[in-house]
């Protein structure tokens, strides 16, 4: 069990479910590097922990801070923000995107910029009804990370362009209609119900393999993709066979003992 006691993150795990709650306010860039390091360490722990199947990420609900632009300018002036910070950020986002666990983003409050970039790479994005979404980076004179690459794949080039170039704030309903998110949960119980449904009904291997094939689908040729699909499908079948054998063995042992 990893011990996380930080101003930026809290981490809990119960059975095969893990949860990262982000306490860091992304509108303050001062400690972003430190946050990245801590977040990376938790991802490494989750990756290496065979017991964990599902990782949920949520953020302490915060409102858009009217000082966020001046905070950004101060961080820029003090050289806290540089290209190395963005490199480190993209590395951690890629680690989350490639994590060998199912990832669920639980979205509430104002989801802007940096956290939205993280949420975007999760397998499932579940929002609370009053959540708002926005990519404000263009208004600051920078780019919203590799969301410029991913967003067009998820919601289409036209919608991605509008969202990123305008920096507009959109509602959860709007985000759902654009397929920026997958579902609006009316309350926490509904969110948990969804999470347990995934846990009970879905195979982790097939989620990871489908995620990878979908992410690669825009740049792979059909000839490459068919080979990748067959390799991935075989891995899914092997995982299913292994699970079936384990269940059978368990049943036999229970029968013998019982």
């Amino acid at each position: 069990m990893i011990n996380v006691n930080s101003h930026f993150l809290s981490f809990e795990e119960e059975s095969n479910l893990a949860h990262i709650k982000i306490l860091y306010n992304f509108q303050d860039y001062t400690f972003l590097k430190k946050f990245i390091d801590e977040f990376k360490n938790i991802l490494i722990y989750v990756e290496d922990n065979d017991k964990i199947d599902i990782l949920t990420i949520s953020k302490l609900p915060t409102q858009v801070d009217s000082n966020s632009y001046s905070n950004f300018k101060t961080a820029l002036r003090e050289e806290i923000i540089d290209i190395h910070l963005f490199t480190a950020w993209e590395k951690v986002v890629t680690s989350l995107e490639r994590l060998s666990k199912c990832t669920i983003a639980k979205l509430s409050g104002d989801i802007a910029g940096t956290f939205l970039q993280l949420a975007l790479v999760c397998d499932y994005k579940i929002s609370m009804p009053d959540t708002t979404f926005c990519f404000p980076e263009i208004n600051y004179g920078i780019l919203p990370g590799m969301a410029v690459y991913r967003l067009a794949k998820y919601i289409g080039l036209g919608c991605a362009k509008k969202l990123i170039l305008s920096g507009d704030i959109i509602s959860a309903e709007n985000a759902l209609s654009l397929h920026l998110i997958d579902k609006i949960a009316r309350n926490n119980e509904e969110f948990l119900q969804f999470k347990y449904q995934i846990n009970n009904e879905k195979s982790l291997t097939s989620i990871i393999m489908a995620r990878r094939l979908l992410n690669e689908s825009f740049h792979d040729s059909y000839e490459d993709a068919i080979g990748h699909y067959l390799a991935a499908q075989n891995r899914c079948l092997n995982a299913l066979n292994k699970t079936t054998k384990q269940s059978e063995n368990k049943r036999i042992i229970e029968k013998v003992i019982g």
Binding site: E47, D48, S100, E223, G227, H228, L230, N234, R235, N238
Partner: protein, 347 residues
């Protein structure tokens, strides 16, 4: 601690290079299924020693002669390149290990090379014959042990394969799978062990792990075909899936020993066994096509050169000068058995 370091690498191919279309034309292949097999191989070019007149069938004796002359020619060139890079003379080599599976000879290839290239008469030698595509790593394991037992002496590994001397040219899908994939190539690697490994002998070799996949003896085999009066190689279409299902075992054994994770490996040098095999490894080890770019490049530009293929990928990697000090690498090759061989290296 005495560690073996890699001093230099040289490679060579026959001068004749063909596209897949060239080969289809040269072998007068009209069958559409076989044509598709060649075209979907993800191979652009291959080096092969093909007879001028392909209408005249090469007998087993002619093929064996081609194996010997071809191995001596490209093997010799690869050795010379490795020696030049290391600024060594042939007389500096104390141990020669030759790996091949495309012909059986006695005296073995190492004796022919020692005689033809004027190695010292007291140069020790060993031949690894019949281990197929993974043989290069078995050879490197032998070389590593010899070098550690004989510090400061130079040992040379030569993987030399004339796969065009193991061809059966009929219209069956079984032989077409082989003929559409394999090619001729040689790679020579010089190593030296020392307590204080210097920068010129990098990366160092830490360890090897092997894994023979149970119940898969018949998935790849090279046997006498009495109908054709030739040796014939067979690859089962199950191979990519069998390799994929088992590939994590030796890799985890290797990494666990050094308390490493897959993410700690900066460079993956894997045998270019074929597109489906590469896909199976990628999706079962969680690697990307960027991780395997050198392997994919070798397959695209050279085809499968059996035991030396992974060394072509290794040469490709080190030529890019994108390696940082202390970074780890994994070498991996798969072949008949079915066998998976792995090694951990560090710069």
């Amino acid at each position: 601690m005495i560690l073996t370091g890699i001093v230099s690498i040289g490679t060579s191919n026959p001068t004749t290079k063909y596209t897949q279309d060239d080969i289809l034309q040269k072998l007068s292949i009209q069958n559409e299924r076989i044509k598709n097999l060649y075209k979907s191989s993800h191979i652009r070019t291959r080096h092969l020693i093909l007879p001028t007149d392909t209408a005249i069938e090469e007998t087993q004796s002619m093929l064996l002669e081609k194996h010997l002359s071809g191995c001596l020619e490209i093997g010799g060139n690869a050795i010379n390149e490795a020696l030049n890079i290391a600024e060594l003379k042939i007389s500096d080599i104390d141990f020669l290990c030759v790996v091949t599976s495309t012909g059986f000879l006695a005296p073995a290839l190492s004796a022919h090379l020692i005689s033809a290239m004027n190695f010292r008469n007291d140069c020790q030698r060993a031949d690894i014959v019949g281990m197929g595509c993974n043989g290069g790593l078995n050879g490197l394991n032998v070389l590593n042990n010899w070098a550690k037992a004989n510090p400061k002496k130079y040992a040379l590994l030569l993987c030399t394969e004339i796969c065009s001397a193991a061809y059966v040219n009929d219209s069956s899908m079984s032989t077409s799978v082989v003929n559409s994939l394999f090619s001729d190539g040689a790679a020579a690697l010089i190593v030296r062990a020392d307590e204080h490994v210097n920068q010129k002998a990098r990366p160092v070799i830490h360890d090897f792990k092997s894994y023979m996949i149970p119940n898969s003896l018949n998935s790849m085999f090279y046997r006498w075909d009495s109908e054709k009066n030739k040796f014939s190689f067979h690859l089962s279409n199950e191979i990519p899936y069998v390799i994929g299902e088992n590939v994590e075992k030796p890799i985890m054994n290797l990494l666990d020993k050094f308390n490493l994770k897959k993410r700690d490996i900066s460079h993956w040098t894997i045998h270019a066994g074929g597109k489906k095999v590469i896909d199976a490894i990628m999706y079962n080890l969680g690697l990307t096509s960027s991780d395997l770019k050198h392997t994919i490049n070798v397959l695209r530009n050279y085809g499968n050169m059996s035991s030396g293929s992974f060394l072509f990928s290794f040469k490709n990697l080190i030529s890019k000068h994108q390696i940082q000090s202390n970074e780890y690498g994994v070498l991996m090759a798969m072949g008949p058995g079915a066998q998976i061989e792995t090694a951990l290296i560090q710069w």
